[in-house]
Symmetry: C2
Subunit: 344 residues, 2 copies
């Protein structure tokens, strides 16, 4: 390593990064004093604190994350578990933007971990908890009795889930009011004259299927219209499969005249099927869809959509987690995002 043998200049970056020792030497105080002064310890004289803070500011001191983490055990890391369905149009992006903006300036880093093996959802989380890789965890697509939630609660590990559970013990979550979305969306379909409405729902494993179903059923019961809830088709079904299925349905004897799509992908699939069958949405049948990225209204300007603000969800989740981390005793923060009124 005789890299700087010939060249005299070129000071290696960050080789001379300031530490507490630097400030100690500069100020004349001991390292311990400097540390406590920067921590605003009341046992340190106010004059000293000011002096030290000033020097720290001048030389651009920033505490070493590794040293801190080693000493205190706090990682200053929040881990987002990226799951296989993250790729749903816009959802992941929006969430990420929300998370990072809310975390900005908090001192916490967001690390993103994938988990593509659906069979063992717990693995990445167990790894994080057991090996202390983060101070808190964030994940999506929560199940009624989610194994991740159970594990994290058992271990007293801070987390915020996107979506609720059916556990009795409280935990922090952020969720979109899917029941209200489904209720109002269905009402809308009925109001427009639909008498046979179809809802594409998430897989049975996910909690928000229940919510959507409740809202949907509540609306259809009130008005006594016919329904169709496919068994084999869910929000996670590949687009072309949904499309083909919808084509079949549209050809059938009693075809639905209204569709409720709790996701953009399913809307596009239905739309695709209509195209194939020469049907026009808004004339031959009605569709109400959730809107996340905004593509839908760009494609079909007068599509009936209800906006889910995923970026806000991200911000909320980050804020909730920060709260939980700073004051663990407080009640777990929970937020239900309301479905904004339909655009008319």
């Amino acid at each position: 390593m005789r890299s700087d043998a010939p060249s005299p200049a070129a000071p290696k970056t960050a080789a001379d990064r300031p530490t507490l020792k630097t400030i100690a030497d500069l100020s004349g105080f001991a390292v311990a004093t400097v540390s406590r002064a920067l921590a605003e310890d009341p046992k340190i004289a106010v004059a000293t604190r000011r002096r030290v803070a000033e020097i720290a500011r001048q030389i651009g001191y920033e505490p070493d994350r590794a040293a801190r983490r080693l000493r205190t055990g706090r990682t200053m890391v929040i881990n987002l578990i990226l799951d296989p369905h993250f790729e749903v149009l816009g959802f992941g992006n929006a969430l990420l933007i929300g998370l990072t903006t809310a975390l900005e300036g908090s001192g916490y880093n967001l690390v993103v971990t994938p988990h593509f093996d659906d069979t063992d959802q717990l693995a990445p989380i167990r790894h994080i908890v057991v090996n202390r890789q983060a101070d808190g965890v964030i994940f999506t697509r929560t199940a009624p009795f989610d194994s991740r939630v159970r594990f994290l609660m058992e271990h007293g590990f801070p987390f915020v889930s996107h979506g609720r559970t059916d556990f009795t013990e409280e935990h922090s979550w952020v969720d979109f009011d899917n029941e209200d979305f489904a209720y109002r969306g269905t009402l809308r379909l009925i109001e427009k004259g639909c008498r046979n409405v179809c809802a594409i729902l998430p897989p049975r494993t996910l909690t928000f299927r229940q919510h959507l179903q409740y809202g949907f059923m509540r609306a259809v019961r009130e008005f006594g219209v016919d329904t169709l809830v496919p068994e084999s088709i869910t929000l996670d079904t590949p687009a072309d499969e949904i499309r083909d299925w919808a084509c079949g349905i549209l050809d059938g004897p009693n075809r639905p005249d209204g569709f409720l799509c709790p996701g953009e992908a399913s809307y596009l699939a239905i739309r695709s099927a209509c195209q194939k069958r020469g049907l026009v949405i808004g004339r031959d049948l009605r569709v109400v869809s959730k809107s996340i990225s905004g593509v839908i209204s760009q494609i079909d300007p007068d599509a009936d959509t209800i906006q889910e603000d995923v970026e806000q969800a991200g911000r909320l989740m980050a804020q909730h987690l920060l709260t939980t981390l700073s004051e663990p005793s407080v009640r777990a923060p929970m937020t239900l995002q309301s479905a904004k009124p339909l655009f008319e």
Copy 2:
């Protein structure tokens, strides 16, 4: 916090996380020996290495990141700079998936940092370099004389950019062959009979504008067709502005009969304008677009698109960075992703 007052059992998780000391005690070797054994130091007897490795495996030992980082200076972190235009449909997601999959099992963590202040692109990177927050950096939307690239090269800090620069000194990058895309896309338009083609280009600040322009101009010169390259409208222009502009153009005296859209958003905007003017893509005019998320072919099954594999770009960038990190002496890896042939 008197949670475990009554219960005697309940071993606090990870409180007894195994360290080198644990293995040392269990095996009878010294901590130093264990450390070197796990590092497969040839000066340690093979039998010892095996013995130590076996114990480590049994008790599930995993080295402490903070301790390692403090001692060696290696953070084992790769930082992705999330920029304001990350939200472009699908791009960010795909990149993230690619990055995380390629990083899986490498020991590197991916931390995501936002940078919404377009005025100082350098700030987040300077912070990372000066404060040793990561071992390598990844970013997108590269400029011909990108300040980030210059800074990182000056400091000898490992990075991979998405997009090339005009610097003479080599550095690692991954880029889509936009020139070829533009060339072939334009040829396609001409082949379909277009005689007045319009290209929406990225802002002048970005390198890939040049590439697209070259390809575009090469094709139009070969066949001597008319062109329109808007000054005020770029890929970054908000969708509704592009739409309104396009409406104006379509109303004008010599309206283009072909559009080249190097992004999904611009395609949708053009499409939107056509809808407004009652024009049909594929009949009244032609559009060739880049496809990233796949929405386009879902909306318009017979749209002319050329696929950019962003997920692969992510994987490549991660691999390149890993290579650079493990053998810094090797020539900086660079990859030009070829535009796949048009689907016909």
